[in-house]
């Protein structure tokens, strides 16, 4: 036997060990970050003490002594009310803006692909103009345009379309169906109608696919929904039963002791952590056996375990958190209960028309119609048009991404142009469009914060007004971050949900 002798395996010294070095560097950096934070926060605390400020949350409960331009609480009694008003105003702009931007963007995006030269050139001009001007410039421009060029509001002004639309420097007011106190009862019928319409659409669609006959699923769905809406308009007191159900539930929720909820939630936290670790290990397993786990893998599993156990411990140790949750849930149920009553009658919607009132020396828009103030107009026009130019590009890209062979195949099967668009092009384009579209919705929501430039009382403007009064900048900025991160998370969850459903299922 003269095999070459192998040197006995020696472990490298620990300072040459890659795993040790990696963790030393990470813990060193973490220590540095924490130390920097500690020093900075200490300095901030000292500075704030010197200025007589403190890091408490009194600003949410104290009367803020501010006045807001528009919204639910124009003169809020607490900081909470002020921020609530700001949040609702922000959501109004964001939701109506998302809706309008999607429609405009889709129309312009398709127009850019139109075979009509004028339409495609105009759409291109729109996109290239709007997306290359900063959104803040556009917001401010629309605001000043509406408050300088629109007609002056006088007694007897009735706008370009009397009774329907009133345009003035004080704002744009238009007729609007306002929900009455029976609206919730009607809403039950609408929801049921929506669900049955969906069910009808699916069954008719399935039949069309299986039998190959024209079943008109969309017409059916629309008719069913309309039928429910019409029946509900008159029969809505029947939905009072829903209120009785809510009342029963609320009583039950209040009757169960908090400890039961605590244990259930803690168990859920532990289960989620266990499930995550289990699935992680499964993902590392192959027919050849469990893959070698790296230190990173161990870190992930330990972190999941620590988070789950920590969450469970927090839930069990502080019953206040669970109690608050249960109380909020119960209050919500009771709130719903109050919205329903067998004896409540009357139309669920009432049309309000714009009108002018003269309370003092100056004419004002009365709150009979739906009114868009110049601030709202500015921020809404600005963010909507800006975002719609990007959406147009996304739609165009999505439609162009469908291979030409699909169109040719569709025509070869004898589809008409409309059918081709609806059944072949759009479903495939939708898949490409959805993720960037979600990003644009996020951008639009974040851009509503520019309302501060035109004194529109959304979250940022309210916050700035608040900290100008109290000096509590850190708290306000934390509130902003919490709010916007929640909104961003919600929108991305929604988009991810639809995205998963729209993606191709690959075998």
């Amino acid at each position: 036997m003269n095999r070459p002798s192998l040197a006995p395996p020696t472990r490298p010294p620990f300072w040459r060990n890659a795993t040790f070095l990696k963790w030393a560097a990470q813990i060193g950096v973490l220590f540095g970050v924490v130390a920097l934070g500690y020093v900075l926060i200490g300095e901030a605390a000292a500075n704030m003490r010197a200025q007589g400020l403190s890091l408490d949350w009194d600003l949410l409960t104290d009367p803020p002594g501010i006045q807001l331009g528009e919204g639910i609480f124009v003169k809020p009694d607490t900081g909470m009310e002020a921020f609530y008003t700001g949040a609702v105003n922000m959501l109004r702009v964001a939701m109506s803006g998302i809706l309008a931007a999607t429609v405009i963007g889709a129309v312009v995006g398709i127009a850019r692909l139109s075979s009509n030269w004028l339409a495609s050139r105009l759409a291109t001009a729109f996109v290239e103009t709007v997306r290359n001007i900063p959104v803040l410039v556009q917001v401010v421009f629309w605001f000043f345009l509406s408050s300088i060029l629109f007609p002056v509001l006088q007694e007897g002004s009735s706008g370009p379309i009397p009774g329907l639309l009133l345009v003035s420097r004080k704002g744009i007011s238009f007729a609007w169906p306002f929900p009455q106190e029976t609206f919730w009862q009607w809403g039950v019928f609408l929801v049921v109608g929506l669900l049955t319409a969906r069910w009808a659409y699916r069954t008719r669609m399935r039949r069309a696919e299986e039998m190959g006959e024209e079943t008109r699923p969309l017409t059916w769905a629309l008719l069913i929904f309309l039928a429910w809406a019409i029946v509900g308009w008159f029969a809505h007191p029947l939905a009072g039963a829903v209120g009785w159900l809510f009342g029963l539930l609320a009583a039950q929720v209040g009757a169960i002791p908090v400890l039961v909820y605590q244990v259930m939630l803690a168990l859920a936290a532990l289960y989620l952590a266990w499930r995550w670790i289990h699935r992680f290990l499964e993902s590392r397993r192959s027919p050849a056996g469990l893959a070698k786990l790296t230190d990173d893998d161990y870190f992930r599993m330990i972190l999941a375990g620590v988070l789950g156990t920590g969450g469970a411990a927090v839930l069990l140790l502080w019953p206040g958190i669970t109690e608050l949750g249960a109380n909020v849930f119960q209050a919500l149920l009771e709130f719903c209960d109050q919205k329903f009553d067998f004896l409540r009658t009357g139309a669920p919607l009432a049309i309000g028309q714009p009108s002018v009132e003269v309370p003092g020396r100056f004419a004002q828009i009365a709150d009979t119609g739906m009114t868009m103030t110049p601030s709202f107009f500015g921020i809404w026009m600005g963010v909507t048009l800006y975002t719609s130019s990007f959406i147009a590009e996304i739609v165009r890209g999505g439609v162009l991404s469908v291979p030409k062979g699909q169109t040719e195949a569709g025509y070869a099967l004898g589809l008409r142009r409309g059918q081709l668009l609806r059944m072949v092009i759009l479903p495939q384009a939708f898949r490409v469009i959805l993720p960037p579209l979600g990003n644009q919705y996020l951008n639009l929501s974040k851009n509503t914060s520019l309302g501060i430039a035109v004194a529109f009382p959304e979250m940022v403007q309210v916050g700035q007004t608040m900290f100008n009064q109290t000096g509590d900048t850190i708290q306000v900025i934390l509130l902003w971050m919490g709010f916007y991160l929640t909104i961003s998370l919600l929108i991305s969850l929604l988009i991810n949900y639809y995205n998963r459903r729209a993606q191709l299922v690959e075998r």
Binding site: N116, L118, L136, D296, K446, S449, Q464, I474
Partner: protein, 580 residues
């Protein structure tokens, strides 16, 4: 029989473009179906009404466009002291000189068809004539109208005559066409000089001359410098030109030499020690090199503990970083030479900027001296340049296998991307002063620049991450097989490929950043938008002219953003992204 090239039939010239009659074209593109025809009719009416409304708006007697030219200085530099405007011109000339040198590199040597040039001239003439004639119906008869009408007519003639004389495939050097354009602009400026007291038209002419002079200088330099070196030198000059302009030329610092002189020799000593340390570290075996680095690190920490002059501390820290990087990047004699030069340049720059940074400004202003478009440029260029290294680190952290780095990077990126820029700006404006000791006074521009950098870095990190993920794993395996360390692999293999893949995305982000700088108007900085929205419309001479000024702002922002995006499209085509 051999197949020689002269045996082949010469290729036929490409066919001339077919001329389609206007009627056929319209039938095909405007009235192809009933729907299309109706659409055309509706859009034509709408377009005409829209144009009329815009013209009525522009030429209304209520509009006061004449307030814009006297405010040119406000728009360009904000409240910069008017006695020191020379500093601004010097910065313009620095940029002009560098641009002139770079024209040699950018290869402005292409040719452009004469037909295209004269078509452009004719289009400009027609636009001017149409706008001028239409404006005759508006009540205000100003001098601008006759300028538009006569100028437009002249341009049409100038664009029509050569069309009849020249053949279609005559071309002209792009450089000459550009020079002619600049010359024409100069002549127009000379006659139009709107503000006779400031002689800005003379200085613009000097700017053009600087561009041309440095173009020739660049050509000469190219003759006796190898191409890559010349390219590197020009790039380095561009990189340091912006800090030089904003920290030195425009800030005009007054250096307190009696405080500086005592520690200058020590700084020179550190600079001299540098090559020795680097040479040692790159030649010694690993363990001993680590010992040298350890020693340098100890000296650095010691320098902070006993509070040596700040400049010496910074220089020592820089030296430690350089010597730590030396084993990776200075292993061969060739690389070592480059590394010595980088140490020399890097330490000199650090010293220079430190000297300027601590000196107080010699301008007669309170705190913020930058404003107008000057500030917009600073924020955009500074934000892009500073966010690049931060974003790179964040992207590497996010793709790293080290969990704590990954968690920190992900948390930073997602938080920043989840909140609007304006909240980050408010954070910088209101909260950063709280974190600092009371005697540190951070001016508004610095805070805004910090906020924009922090914001842009998160978005850049996501772009770079996309690039990092596009590098195929075979590249890593090849690098490992060659025995590269992780840092060598990252710097020499991964990053070059990743960055090249995401250049278009990064240019798009830079354009977005340029537009986003307008948000600093909200936290009270006098940037271009703020001048247009608040400063000019609140002056007694131009009270309430806010729409005119906002439109000007929109047009200026548009010109820049649009030309950037066109340039990026060309770049994308040249890089061939997405075609492989």
């Amino acid at each position: 029989m051999s197949l020689d090239s002269h045996d082949l039939i010469p290729p036929e010239p490409p066919p001339k473009a077919m001329r389609i009659s206007g009627f056929n074209w319209a039938r095909k593109n405007l009235f192809s179906s009933v729907f299309s025809g109706t659409l055309t009719a509706i859009l034509t009416v709408g377009l005409l009404l829209g144009i009329l409304a815009v013209l009525r708006f522009i030429f209304s007697p209520d509009r006061r466009w004449e307030v814009i030219p006297p405010n040119a200085a406000n728009y360009t530099v904000g409240s910069y002291p008017r006695d020191d405007l020379g500093n601004i011109w010097w910065s313009v000339w620095v940029i002009a000189a560098l641009a002139g040198m770079s024209t040699v590199l950018w290869g402005v040597g292409g040719r452009v068809s004469v037909v295209k040039v004269v078509a452009g001239v004719r289009a400009a003439g027609v636009t001017a004539l149409v706008v001028g004639v239409l404006s005759l119906w508006s009540p205000a008869g100003t001098a601008v109208q006759s300028w538009l009408v006569w100028g437009g007519a002249a341009l049409i003639v100038a664009g029509w005559v050569p069309m009849r004389l020249l053949s279609e495939d005559r071309t002209v050097a792009t450089a000459n066409a550009l020079a002619a354009l600049v010359g024409l602009g100069m002549v127009v400026l000379w006659y139009l000089h709107l503000d006779r007291t400031s002689h800005w038209h003379l200085r613009l002419i000097v700017t053009a001359l600087v561009v041309i002079a440095f173009h020739w200088l660049g050509r000469m330099a190219k003759r006796w410098l190898p191409d890559p070196t010349f390219k590197k030198v020009v790039t380095m000059l561009w990189v340091i030109s912006f800090p030089v302009i904003y920290m030195h030329i425009q800030r005009n610092p007054s250096v307190a030499w009696e405080e500086v002189l005592p520690w200058l020799p020590w700084a020179a000593l550190v600079m001299a020690v540098g090559p020795v340390a680097i040479g040692l570290v790159s030649r010694l075996p690993r363990e001993q090199a680590a010992a040298v680095n350890f020693l340098l690190g100890a000296v650095t920490i010691f320098s902070w503990v006993v509070e040596w002059p700040m400049a010496i501390r910074v220089m020592t820290l820089l030296l430690t970083l350089f010597s730590m990087a030396a084993p990776t990047f200075a292993s061969s004699p060739q690389a070592r030479k480059v590394f010595y030069w980088s140490w020399l340049g890097g330490s000199l720059c650090a010293l220079y900027f430190f000297l300027l940074g601590v000196a107080s400004t010699g301008l007669d202003t309170r705190g913020d001296f930058l404003g107008g478009f000057n500030l917009t440029i600073l924020l955009a260029v500074g934000g892009i340049a500073l966010s690049f290294p931060v974003g790179l680190l964040l992207a590497l952290g996010r793709t790293s296998t080290m969990p704590i780095f990954r968690i920190l990077s992900v948390a930073y990126i997602e938080v920043i991307r989840g909140v609007p820029l304006i909240t980050v700006l408010f954070f910088a404006d209101k909260v950063i002063p709280r974190f600092l000791p009371p005697w540190v006074d951070v001016i508004g521009e610095t805070k805004a620049l910090l906020a924009i950098t922090a914001f842009a870095a998160a978005y850049l990190a996501e772009n770079v991450r996309g690039g990092l993920q596009s590098v195929s794993s075979g590249q890593f395996e090849a690098a490992r097989a060659l025995g590269m360390t992780t840092s060598q692999m990252t710097m020499l293999v991964t990053l070059p490929q990743a960055l090249k893949a995401v250049i278009p995305a990064m240019v798009g982000q830079a354009i977005a950043l340029f537009k986003d700088t307008s948000l600093v108007a909200i936290i009270g900085l006098a940037d271009f938008l703020r001048v247009a929205r608040d400063v000019v419309p609140n002056q007694p001479d131009s009270l309430g002219s806010v729409l005119e000024n906002l439109l000007l702002a929109a047009v200026v922002y548009w010109i820049f953003a649009f030309s950037f995006s066109r340039a990026s499209q060309r770049l994308e085509k040249r890089l061939g992204v997405g075609t492989r």
